[in-house]
């Protein structure tokens, strides 16, 4: 099967060349196939966030190679990284990160604006996406007029805007009660099952991880497949 994420020997160091130089990731290999629903679990301080930043093309590895849907993230400059994030990655954050004073529709349109989609087409697609997450009757509401679960649904619609290669969700239910968290998880399952979307879920909640098709664990900067 074709690999969407292909990581080889990823090492990430911070404060390079300084006395407090720190190696967080010690050589990670990770392959994620198209259509997989992967969860990455790990305690805080395990290097989970650093790995997520690399997967999401927010950062470059110090050593090793990383291809995301055929794009070489390791060698990309800042401009190319922006383009990769724009087209290949759909971020879903724990605290939603909707743009304030900007209604749900405009929030969903935002990634398409950065991708250069025409105003008419992006409004149309944003409406379709909001309908998909059952938020069509709240399109013109500001983020502060939405509940947590509603905000996260808008955020998921926004993540889908440019039809990315992966949905990268960082503790997406962390700020929600269990009932709305359940609805959000169901939405990810639906995207994965119905649209074949590759989903990478970062969580410290083992229970949530168990319902995904594959679980990997971060421990002290190393990645272990479940059961190894």
């Amino acid at each position: 099967m074709e690999s969407i994420i292909a990581m080889r020997g990823i090492i990430k160091r911070f404060y390079i060349g300084q006395p407090n130089e720190l190696e967080i990731l010690h050589g990670i290999d990770l392959d994620v196939a198209a259509g997989e629903f992967l969860s990455i679990v790990g305690a805080s301080g395990s290097g989970k966030s650093t790995l997520m930043n690399l997967i999401g093309a927010l950062d470059r590895p110090t050593e090793g190679s990383y291809f995301l849907d055929g794009e070489d993230v390791g060698q990309a400059d800042d401009l190319s990284l922006s383009a990769i994030r724009c087209k290949k990655v759909g971020f879903v954050f724990q605290n939603f990160n909707l743009i304030p004073r900007t209604n749900a529709l405009k929030n969903v349109e935002l990634p398409m604006m950065y991708a250069g989609v025409s105003p008419r087409r992006r409004t149309q697609r944003a409406m379709e996406l909001l309908a998909m997450v059952e938020m069509e009757d709240r399109m013109y509401h500001q983020p502060n007029e939405l509940s947590g679960g509603q905000k996260q649904r808008v955020a998921i619609a926004r993540a889908m805007a440019n039809d990315p290669a992966i949905i990268l969700a960082d503790e997406p239910t962390g700020a929600l009660d269990s009932k709305t968290g359940r609805l959000v998880m169901d939405l990810f399952h639906r995207l994965n099952r119905d649209q074949g979307k590759t989903v990478v879920l970062i969580t410290h909640n083992g229970e949530l991880a168990q319902e995904t098709s594959r679980v990997v664990t971060m421990r002290d900067g190393m990645l272990y497949e479940e059961g190894c």
Binding site: L58, L79, A83, F93, N97, R101, M113, Y114, V117, N162
Partner: protein
């Protein structure tokens, strides 16, 4: 990448609406700066049009001829001293022979010559009615040279002057006060004029149309009824009262027949100076009204520039205020910037967004400033007698300036936002 300007403008306006008070305070410097520039330009424009207009009304082609002190080495070239007229010994004043010779020498250039001598201010009374006047002795050329229009009766004549008759040309305002506005009925009537405790009776032979000097009326506190108007009587009638020498003049106003009145002025100066080559102290000075007009406009321009520089300082301070608030805004919105970057915004997208925001603040401030300046300018020029609005040029200038301030002072904060590390920005609490 999509540089959606309209979207950026919408977001910037949204941001302003969310922080109205802060936006207003930030804009204040820009508002005051732009407002004062527009206000000053408007008032200056109106004032300068007013002054030049009034000078033109007094005869744009007129040349003043007077005596001045012979400049010594120290103040050679000093414009002010060359403009100061001095009094000659009576018998050394300009004579009729000189003026006849001048007109004979330059018949194509030298037009009518007006001479006048003031008698003083007084009051015309009739029963309980009164009218304030300045009494001037003038020759027959005076009213035409100064563009004063006779609306009833006739001008003073040479014979009136020669005979030093007690006749007068009065203003329509005086007719209103004394004769109930009947200009035809006023002709042939006597006006009793009190000057310095003496009463003189003059027969009205003509009525002229009084044009109010707009600037004077703005400054003057006199009521409509109390405004003093000029009452013209023959020059020699005045000279007989004051005892000054008949046929000698200290000051002339010569109407130029050529459009180049400055050239005619120097012809006159050279011609008349021949009579005074042997005078060790004095010489003839000339001043074409045209030169005065030019000087006044250039003075007004200089004044406008000077005040605009001060307004520019206010704009600079305003710009720094905008920069400061933009830096605050960037810090406050660090997470938003991080989110935008995660969603695919390039550094350029973020930079543009914040520059647009800063430009919008400045443009909105500029717009309010233009409105305020226009109101101030209108009010100011209204007080000075010629209500006028700002010119299109000054509005465009103000707009361009506010935009430039927005770009200039917004660039640094915008660049700071653009260069934020997305990971750090997303983690920012």
């Amino acid at each position: 990448m999509g540089l959606d300007l309209r979207e950026n403008v919408r977001m910037a306006l949204e941001g302003l609406r969310a922080n109205k008070m802060r936006a207003l305070l930030t804009m204040l410097g820009i508002i005051i700066g732009i407002g004062s520039v527009i206000g000053i330009l408007t008032v200056g424009e109106g004032l300068s049009a007013n002054i030049t207009g009034e000078m033109a009304a007094l005869g744009a082609q007129n040349i003043s001829v007077y005596f001045q002190e012979r400049p010594d080495e120290e103040d050679a070239g000093n414009l002010l001293s060359s403009m100061t007229s001095v009094w000659m010994e009576e018998e050394d004043g300009f004579s009729d022979e000189m003026l006849e010779a001048l007109q004979a020498q330059y018949p194509e250039q030298v037009g009518p010559i007006a001479v006048d001598e003031g008698l003083g201010s007084g009051q015309v009374t009739k029963g309980r009615d009164y009218a304030n006047v300045y009494v001037y002795g003038v020759n027959e050329n005076y009213l035409p040279v100064y563009n004063i229009e006779i609306i009833a009766g006739r001008n003073l004549r040479a014979q009136d002057n020669e005979g030093a008759r007690n006749v007068a040309v009065v203003s329509d305002k005086l007719v209103n006060n004394i004769f109930g506005g009947d200009v035809q009925g006023a002709l042939g009537q006597e006006v009793l004029t009190n000057i310095n405790g003496e009463t003189y009776a003059y027969t009205v032979v003509g009525v002229y149309e009084y044009t109010q000097n707009a600037m004077m009326s703005a400054i003057s506190t006199a009521s409509e009824r109390d405004i003093s108007t000029e009452l013209y009587i023959p020059l020699n009638t005045v000279k007989r009262l004051t005892g000054s020498m008949i046929g000698r003049y200290q000051y002339l106003t010569i109407s130029s027949l050529s459009t180049d009145s400055q050239a005619v002025a120097s012809l006159i100066q050279d011609f008349l100076n021949r009579y005074y080559v042997n005078n060790p102290d004095y010489q003839v000075g000339v001043m074409a009204m045209e030169t005065m007009t030019d000087m006044v406009s250039s003075m007004m321009d200089t004044l406008s520039i000077a005040i605009s520089v001060i307004a520019g300082i206010s704009l600079l301070v305003g710009g720094i205020g905008v920069m400061n608030i933009m830096l605050v805004s960037v810090t406050e919105r660090t997470r938003e910037i991080g989110t935008r970057k995660a969603l695919g915004a390039t550094n350029g997208n973020i930079r543009l967004q914040f520059v647009v925001e800063s430009v919008i603040i400045c443009l909105v401030g500029g717009l309010i400033g233009i409105l305020m300046g226009a109101c101030l300018g209108y009010f100011g020029s209204y007080l000075l007698g010629t209500p006028s609005g700002p010119t299109l040029g000054s509005i465009l200038l103000a707009f361009g300036f506010s935009m430039a301030i927005g770009v200039f002072f917004g660039y640094y904060p915008a660049n700071k936002a653009a260069n934020l590390d997305p990971i750090e920005a997303l983690r920012y609490e």
